[in-house]
């Protein structure tokens, strides 16, 4: 019990450096977190991560950028070679795992006992948590199965589950208790589009109830759809972290027109004061500066006899932000 009861002390005299800006304790705070594997490869390099409580935090990066290694360190599965991690201002490592009872996790895909039923699998994970109340176990298991839409398959053996069902069962084990933090590594892997939507809805509703969500993904759309904050990893380093809005602000929107008359269109855009005019095939675009009213530009284009097929202001996507920040595509790091 003693290892579970330290937050009072930790919060009383916690270091200010590890606190989120608003004064609350960060759900996740890492300090120079690094991992060098025995082969000499630096998988994670000096990570300073701050995940504010209540956020839906996207942890983004190509395959091989160190996301999973980071998550394993956050959960005390592997020891950092330098730096450390705190969850709710309590240290987590191989010997200090008490805080993890507040954390539900899905790490690198689900894992189950193939010869046990879905329900028995959940019962085993629940029994492993010594703070879990056995008296309420079956009720909590039922609710978790219900939440992920597996209630009808509870008595089937896990080996008979499809990949999507296994993924759901993995999520169910993260939801066996009310959690303060969910660390979800690629939670929609193996799910069909309908299943992905369901899981995203579930994540959003859990976040609405106040659970902090740490969502790792290589799917930019997914992060863009559900996350309030984001951190971008590349080759083991943290490239940036902040709110999704902040990240997008750094990039300028583009005013784009699709037309067969590219030369004329480019001339009109320049004439209207457009900066950085570029022509690419049938597409002509320029920076959407504040003084450049789309309606004025469109009228000018039509007035000049440019045949406009499509016209609009394009907001930068997270992918653009990623490419701008890392100068590389979103592919597997070598």
């Amino acid at each position: 019990m003693s290892e579970h009861s330290s937050p009072a002390a930790a919060q009383g005299g916690g270091t200010t450096a590890l606190r989120a800006p608003q004064g609350a304790v960060a759900a996740i705070a890492t300090d120079g977190l690094s991992k060098r594997y025995r082969g000499g490869q630096l998988a994670v390099d000096g990570l300073d991560l701050r995940v504010p409580q209540g956020s839906v935090f996207g942890f983004l990066g190509p395959n091989g950028s160190g996301k999973t290694t980071t998550i394993r360190m956050l959960l005390g599965l592997i020891s950092p070679t330098a730096g450390g991690a705190r969850l709710f201002d309590e240290p987590v490592d191989a010997a200090h795992v008490g805080t993890l009872t507040r954390v539900g996790a899905l790490i690198e895909g689900p894992a189950h006992y193939p010869y046990l039923t879905g329900r028995a699998n959940l019962a085993r994970y629940d029994a492993a948590d010594r703070t879990a109340e056995p008296a309420t176990r079956s009720v909590r298991i039922d609710r978790a199965l219900e939440q992920v839409g597996l209630a009808n398959a509870a008595e089937k053996k896990a080996k008979a589950y499809s990949l999507g069902m296994k993924q759901r069962l993995g999520l169910a084990s993260a939801l066996l208790q009310p959690r303060d933090l969910l660390i979800l590594d690629e939670p929609t892997n193996g799910l069909d589009p309908q299943g992905m939507r369901e899981i995203r809805t579930l994540i959003t509703s859990l976040a609405a109830q106040g659970t902090t969500i740490f969502l790792s993904s290589h799917l930019l759309d997914e992060i863009e759809q559900v996350c309030t904050d984001v951190a971008i990893m590349s080759r083991g380093r943290l490239v940036t972290q902040g709110s999704v809005a902040e990240l997008r602000e750094g990039l300028k929107a583009r005013l784009a027109v699709t037309t067969p008359d590219t030369a004329e269109a480019a001339a009109v855009l320049k004439e209207q004061g457009g900066q950085d005019v570029r022509v690419d095939g049938e597409r002509v675009d320029c920076d959407a500066a504040a003084g450049l009213g789309p309606e004025t530009v469109c009228a000018a284009l039509v007035g000049a006899g440019v045949r406009v097929r499509a016209f609009g202001v394009e907001r930068p996507s997270l992918e653009d932000a990623f490419v701008a920040l890392t100068g590389e595509g979103f592919d597997v790091a070598e």
Partner: protein, 299 residues
């Protein structure tokens, strides 16, 4: 308790929504909960049930074979086997002495070698650890479940032998190795003690298997080592030139349980055997603890 309620109070003030889970920490949880689940899982698994069934078949087959060939069994055959046709109770001793060198260690080697590495290979180790099970607690649960498996496996052999012996052969007072005769009741008590001693003889191997299981994520490797190491001990014991290392092998006094069939019981070798097993448990148990409590779980 007071500590954790204090923690709950403070964290409600300081954090967004920690009250529910902070209060949860105060729950009294029976320590045996994961152990109970581990045992249920162990004895629900088909592989383990097949192993136990195979062990149960050995005394049955032995009994039937002895029954069928009993006429050709002259005075020449030595040990417990010769006595079985006169007294069914001896089938218990015969079956244990037959299974202890090979079959029991093999079954145990499979289960012990698989204990941690199997979880790792399945990926369930990481989920148990983040549950959080606690590494030391998980290892302790695995260790206790292996002790239970030693007991159950040995009891299965003894039980099947007893039933087969009662069904196929006459029973009566048992003549001890020292020549005295004891009644049925006393003989059954001795059989129970011998079962316990044989189970205890397996503890050293259980610790070795558990240790190797923490080394690898490949269960088959740990199982191969855990079953092979007994064979190696058998070979080492057969080489007279290696007499100096033989007392350190966990198989060295495996046959000492027979000393219980003397009157008075000759305890020296039995004690020696238990001491060896204890030593292996201490050394390999600590090694397993050192390994599991520090290793990176990357599976």
């Amino acid at each position: 308790m007071s500590q954790s309620s204090a923690a709950a109070a403070v964290s409600t003030a300081g954090e967004a929504r920690p009250a529910a889970s902070a209060a949860r920490r105060g729950f009294a949880n029976p320590r045996g909960s994961l152990l109970a689940n581990e045992l249920a899982t162990m004895f629900r698994r088909n592989r383990n049930l097949v192993l136990l069934a195979a062990l149960a078949l050995i005394p049955v087959a032995l009994g039937v074979a002895l029954k069928v060939t009993t006429r050709h069994h002259g005075q020449g055959a030595g040990g417990f086997l010769a006595q079985v046709s006169n007294n069914g109770l001896f089938l218990v001793f015969a079956a244990l002495s037959l299974t202890l060198p090979i079959f029991l260690p093999m079954a145990l080697g499979v289960v012990a070698g698989d204990s941690i590495s199997g979880e790792a290979a399945q990926g369930t180790l990481r989920y148990l650890l983040v549950a959080p099970a606690g590494r030391v607690r998980l290892l302790a649960v695995k260790a206790v479940s292996l002790v239970v498996f030693c007991l159950v496996a040995t009891a299965v052999v003894a039980g099947a032998a007893l039933l087969t012996g009662l069904a196929l052969f006459p029973v009566g007072p048992v003549t001890l190795l020292s020549g005295d005769s004891i009644g049925m009741g006393a003989a059954l008590v001795k059989a129970l003690w011998i079962t316990l001693l044989v189970a205890a003889s397996l503890l050293g191997l259980a610790a070795v298997g558990l240790f190797f299981s923490t080394l690898t994520d490949t269960p088959i490797a740990a199982m191969a080592v855990a079953t092979g190491v007994t064979i190696m001990c058998g070979i080492l014991q057969a080489i007279p030139q290696l007499a100096s290392i033989q007392p350190w092998l966990y198989t060295y006094q495996w046959s000492s349980y027979a000393d219980l069939l003397r009157d008075p019981v000759y305890l020296a070798n039995i004690e020696r055997n238990l001491l060896i097993q204890l030593g292996y448990v201490a050394v390999f148990g600590s090694a397993a603890w050192a390994r599991l409590s520090t290793r990176d779980v990357t599976s």
